[in-house]
C-alpha cells in the first residue's frame, strides 16, 4: 500500500472515446468520489478501494462536481480541482479520490483516475482541496 496516482484504463478509454467520437457515449470527467482505502493505485482500478457514500452536503450523494477545470495549453496540461467542503464527509479520514465520468449513483467501473494520499482527517474545521494535473510525460 502506497500513495500514488494513475490514469486508469477506464480513464484512458474515456479520453480516447471522447476525443474521436462526435457524439461521445461517456460524459466528461468532471465529478469525483472519495474514500478511505489505501491500496496502491493501478491502471486496472475500476472503483475506489473503500468509497464513502452519502457525503456531499446537503444532498448526501456519493459524488459531486469538481470545483474547476482549467487548461495550460502551452504545457499540454489540464488542471482539475476537487473540493470537499467543511460540512462534508466529516468523521472520515480521507485517503483516496477518484474522478468519474458517470453521473449516476452506484455507477459500476467508472473511476477514470485514482489518487491515494496521506490521510486527511475531515472535520467541520477543514476543507480538502485536491488538485490533479494531467500532463504529457
Amino acid at each position: 500500500m502506497a500513495n500514488g496516482q494513475v490514469l486508469t484504463k477506464i480513464g484512458f478509454s474515456v479520453m480516447m472515446e471522447r476525443a474521436y467520437d462526435s457524439t461521445p457515449s461517456y460524459n466528461q470527467i468532471s465529478q469525483f468520489k472519495i474514500g478511505t482505502g489505501s491500496t496502491t493505485p493501478t491502471t486496472s482500478d475500476t472503483i475506489l478501494d473503500s468509497m464513502i457514500s452519502s457525503w456531499t452536503y446537503p444532498l448526501g450523494y456519493e459524488q459531486k462536481n469538481c470545483a474547476s477545470v482549467g487548461f495550460l495549453i502551452a504545457q499540454q496540461k489540464a488542471v482539475i480541482a476537487s473540493l470537499v467542503a467543511p460540512k462534508e464527509a466529516n468523521g472520515n479520514t480521507i485517503t483516496e479520490l477518484g474522478l468519474t465520468h458517470c453521473y449516476e449513483m452506484s455507477c459500476p467501473d467508472d473511476i477514470c483516475a485514482r489518487i491515494v494520499f496521506t490521510g486527511v482527517a475531515k472535520t467541520i474545521d477543514n476543507q480538502l482541496y485536491v488538485v490533479l494535473y494531467f500532463e504529457r510525460g
Binding site: 484504463k9 474515456v14 462526435s22 496540461k77 449516476e104 488538485v131
Partner: protein
C-alpha cells in the same frame, strides 16, 4: 493615621530593619507585579548578612501588626543595584515564573485527555497552563470522567494526589442539568475520588475546588476555544490572551500563594473612597479624566446571519433560459425533468443539473448570478408535459439587527454612533437586550483617576476589584463604581494609591465583540469550528501516446491486397493532439471538434510532437464541391484492456488519383492543425487502386 509595619525576607533572612523604602505595585494581569526596595548596605555589612543576588527570593509582609502578618509580596529579585550606603532592589512576584520557560502544547477539545475536553472552557485551559506549565498553584481542578463507579469520580487522566485536591473539597458536575455538587470524602488514587453523593456518570465534565471557593472561576460555555495553540509561547502571554478573550483578569496573591482568574467585576471592595466632607479618606484631591472617544449613544447591532431554506418551481417554454429567484442564494441545487412535476414528485439524482457561478471555469447546465438573483440555463428547458418541471432549492441569509439610541446622551454630547456585530446572537430580542445593556455603559464619557487613600487596617484592595468612589469636591461630582486597575503600596508612607476607571469593566460587552473577532482570528491560525483550514493535496498524473503500429495497405479496386507494410515507428501524437484529448476529456462543451478526419501529403520531414501542420499537404485531393483537403476517417476503436486507439483511414479509388504520398495526419475538422502525424516510405496509388492506413496508438 494607623502606623504600618513591614517585614522583608530575602532568601528567608529577615532584613526588615534595613528597609529604607518600599513600593509594591499590583496589577490585574496586564503586567507582572513588582516590588522596589531600598536597603541600607552599611547595616547589611555590619550584621554580616549575605548580600542578595539576582536569584534570591523576596517576601514582604505589611500591616498594622508588629511584626506584620499579611503577606503582600512573594517573588524573586529581578535587579539589584548596590550604591553608596544603599542597595536598590527590584523584584517580580511569582507570576514571573510564567515568563521563565516557553511552553509547547496544543489544547484541542477533540482530545479526551485534554483538560479542556470536550467543551473548550477557557478557564480549564487557563488552569492547566498555570499548574502544568508555570509551576504555580490554583485551588481548582477541571476534568472529565472517563468511566462510572458508584459513589466515585473516575478520571484516568487526572492526578488527584498532586496536592491540589483535598478531602472536603467540592466537586461539581457541569454536564448534568442543575450542575449538582458533592464533597470529596477520600482520595482513593491518582485517578479516583470517593464522593458523598453519587452524582457522576461516565463522560461528565467536572470541577473540584475547596469550600472556601475556587480561585479559577468557571468561564462557562458561552465563549469557548475549541483549539488553543501554545507553540513556543510563554505561559504569561498565553494566559493574558485567555483573559483578554473573556475580558477577565488574573493575578497572584502572596497571602494564599494562588493564581486567581476571575471576572473583572467579581468582587466589590466594601472600603469606599470618599473625597471631601466629613468622611474624606484621601490624601489629595484627584484629577478626573473624561474620555469621550468611545462614547456611544446610537448603537446598531447585528447578530449572526441565519440561513433560510427556500424552494421555487418554474416551467420551461423551450425559449426562456433565465429564471428569477426571490432571494440571493447562498447555496443552490437545480433539478430539471421535462416529464416531472416537482411540486408533487421528489427530484432524483438524475434530474440534478450541473451548476456553476457566473464566469466560472467548469462547464455547466446552468449558471447562477447572485447579484441579479437569477439562474440561466445553457439550453432553454423544454416546455413541460406537466407543470413545474424545474425545481430550485436554495438557501439565503438574513441578518438579525436592531438600532437603539439614548436621546439624553445625544442631546448632551451630540451623535456618537457605532455598529457592532455579535456572532452568537440570532434573535432580535436578544440583540435588543444586549444593545440596551451596552448603551447604558457607553452613553456617558468614561472617567478615570488616581486616588491616594489613607491606609487603615483590613483595606485589602486588589486589582480586579470594584470600588465605589464619591467625589464631593470636583465639579461635576462623581458617585460611581470603578474598576481598580492598579494598587501601589508605599512604605513608610501610610497610604495606598489606587488607579481607578470605569472603562475597564464597563466595556465587557463591547470588548467581547472585539475579542470575539480576535478569537476568531486566532482560531483561524489553529483551526476551529469558526474557521476553516484547507488541506491541499496536489498531484500530477502523466501519460503519453506512442505509435504501436501503422499498416499501409495498397489494394486493387476489387479489394485484393497488392502490398501491405507494417511500420512501428515514424508516427507521433502532437502537442496539439494532447490538448485536444485533455480538453475533450474534461469539458462538457469542448473547445475542439472530435478527431474525425485525415490528410495526406508528400512532406518527408520526421514527425515531431511540435508539428502543427502537414509537411506538404495535398490540396483538394478529395473531389466534391468544393474540393476538400481531408476526408473522414473510416472508423475508430478504443480498446480498454490494451489501452490503444485504432483508426482506419481509406483513400478510395477515384480519389487522389495517380498520386504518390508519404505523409499522413489526423485533424479535428476539415482542415487544420494535425493531432498526430506519420511519415512513411512513399507509396504510389494508381487510378483504380485504394489505400488503407490503419494506425494504432498505445498509451505509454
Amino acid at each position: 493615621m494607623t502606623r504600618r509595619y513591614i517585614k522583608v525576607e530575602i532568601d528567608d533572612e529577615d532584613v526588615s530593619s534595613q528597609v529604607l523604602r518600599c513600593k509594591i505595585v499590583q496589577t490585574y494581569g496586564d503586567a507582572i507585579p513588582t516590588a522596589e526596595l531600598e536597603l541600607s548596605s552599611q547595616y547589611y555589612e555590619e550584621e554580616g548578612y549575605t548580600a542578595p543576588t539576582n536569584a534570591s527570593t523576596l517576601e514582604i509582609w505589611l500591616d498594622e501588626n508588629d511584626p506584620p502578618t499579611t503577606k503582600v509580596f512573594d517573588g524573586y529579585i529581578d535587579n539589584m543595584q548596590p550604591q553608596q550606603g544603599m542597595i536598590r532592589i527590584s523584584g517580580k512576584d511569582q507570576l514571573s515564573l510564567m515568563l521563565n520557560d516557553m511552553m509547547n502544547h496544543y489544547f484541542d477539545t477533540a482530545e479526551v485527555e485534554e483538560k479542556c475536553y470536550p467543551d473548550g472552557r477557557i478557564s480549564s485551559i487557563f488552569n492547566a497552563i498555570v499548574k502544568d506549565y508555570a509551576g504555580l498553584n490554583t485551588n481548582t481542578t477541571y476534568g472529565y470522567t472517563t468511566s462510572y463507579t458508584t459513589g466515585k469520580l473516575v478520571d484516568v487522566y487526572a492526578n488527584f494526589n498532586d496536592g491540589s485536591v483535598n478531602v472536603g473539597d467540592i466537586v461539581k458536575n457541569f454536564t448534568v442539568s442543575g450542575e449538582p455538587h458533592a464533597n470529596v470524602t477520600a482520595i482513593d488514587s491518582d485517578t479516583q475520588l470517593s464522593v458523598n453523593s453519587n452524582i457522576f456518570n461516565a463522560s461528565n465534565r467536572y470541577m473540584i475546588y475547596p469550600a472556601t471557593g475556587q480561585v479559577v472561576h468557571d468561564s462557562g460555555t458561552t465563549i469557548t476555544l475549541n483549539k488553543f495553540d501554545c507553540h513556543d509561547a510563554d505561559p504569561f502571554e498565553r494566559c493574558r490572551k485567555l483573559a483578554d478573550t473573556l475580558n477577565w483578569c488574573f493575578f497572584y496573591k502572596a497571602d494564599t500563594d494562588l493564581v486567581y482568574f476571575q471576572e473583572k467585576n467579581f468582587t466589590t471592595n466594601s472600603n469606599s473612597i470618599t473625597i471631601g466632607g466629613s468622611s474624606n479618606n484621601v490624601m489629595q484631591i484627584p484629577q478626573w479624566e473624561y474620555d469621550r472617544s468611545e462614547l456611544i449613544n446610537i448603537l446598531k447591532v447585528e447578530g449572526i446571519e441565519q440561513q433560510v431554506e427556500y424552494s421555487q418551481t418554474f416551467e420551461g417554454y423551450g425559449s426562456t433560459t433565465t429564471f428569477n429567484l426571490d432571494y440571493e442564494p447562498s447555496t443552490i441545487a437545480v433539478y430539471y425533468n421535462v416529464d416531472v412535476n416537482f411540486s408533487t414528485t421528489a427530484p432524483t439524482f438524475e434530474d440534478r443539473q450541473l451548476g456553476n457561478v457566473e464566469g466560472g471555469l467548469t462547464e455547466a447546465d446552468f449558471t447562477v448570478d447572485k447579484k441579479t438573483k437569477t439562474i440561466t440555463f445553457a439550453v432553454a428547458p423544454d416546455a413541460p408535459t406537466t407543470s413545474n418541471n424545474i425545481l430550485v432549492i436554495y438557501s439565503y441569509s438574513i441578518p438579525a439587527q436592531t438600532t437603539i439610541r439614548d436621546q439624553t446622551s445625544i442631546d448632551t454630547y451630540g451623535n456618537y454612533s457605532k455598529k457592532i456585530t455579535f456572532t452568537d446572537i440570532t434573535e432580535v430580542d436578544d440583540i435588543t437586550a444586549r444593545a440596551t445593556n451596552i448603551l447604558e455603559k457607553y452613553k456617558e464619557p468614561f472617567k478615570s483617576a488616581t486616588v491616594k487613600r489613607v491606609w487603615k487596617a483590613s483595606l485589602d484592595y486588589s486589582p480586579g476589584q470594584l470600588v465605589n468612589v464619591t467625589d464631593n469636591l470636583n465639579i461635576p461630582n462623581v458617585d460611581n463604581t470603578f474598576f481598580i486597575v492598579k494598587v501601589t503600596q508605599n512604605y513608610p508612607d501610610s497610604t495606598v494609591e489606587l488607579e481607578v476607571g470605569d472603562k475597564q469593566w464597563k466595556t465587557d460587552e463591547l470588548l467581547s465583540d472585539l475579542v470575539e473577532r480576535m478569537k476568531q482570528g486566532e482560531e483561524n491560525d489553529v483551526g476551529s469550528t469558526q474557521s476553516t483550514d484547507t488541506d491541499l493535496v496536489s498531484e500530477t498524473i502523466q501519460f503519453d501516446l506512442g505509435l504501436q503500429t501503422c499498416d499501409v495497405v495498397l489494394k486493387n479496386a476489387a479489394g485484393a491486397v497488392i502490398t501491405s507494410t507494417q511500420y512501428t515507428s515514424g508516427g507521433v501524437y502532437t502537442n496539439r493532439g494532447f490538448n485536444v484529448i485533455l480538453n475533450r476529456a474534461f469539458r462538457k462543451t469542448p473547445d475542439y471538434n472530435h478527431i474525425g478526419s485525415f490528410m495526406i501529403g508528400t512532406g518527408s520531414t520526421a514527425a515531431s510532437v511540435d508539428d502543427t501542420s502537414m509537411g506538404n499537404m495535398f490540396n483538394g485531393w478529395v473531389t466534391g464541391s468544393p474540393l476538400y483537403y481531408s476526408k473522414e476517417l473510416d472508423s475508430f476503436a478504443v480498446h480498454t484492456s490494451n489501452e490503444t486507439v485504432t483508426t482506419v483511414a481509406h483513400v478510395p479509388t477515384g480519389l487522389g488519383t495517380g498520386c504518390s504520398f508519404c505523409e499522413y495526419g489526423e485533424i479535428t475538422s476539415t482542415v487544420g492543425s494535425v493531432v498526430n502525424r506519420f511519415v512513411f516510405p512513399t507509396i504510389t496509388k494508381g487510378d483504380f487502386e485504394q489505400v488503407y492506413i490503419t494506425t494504432v496508438f498505445v498509451r505509454t
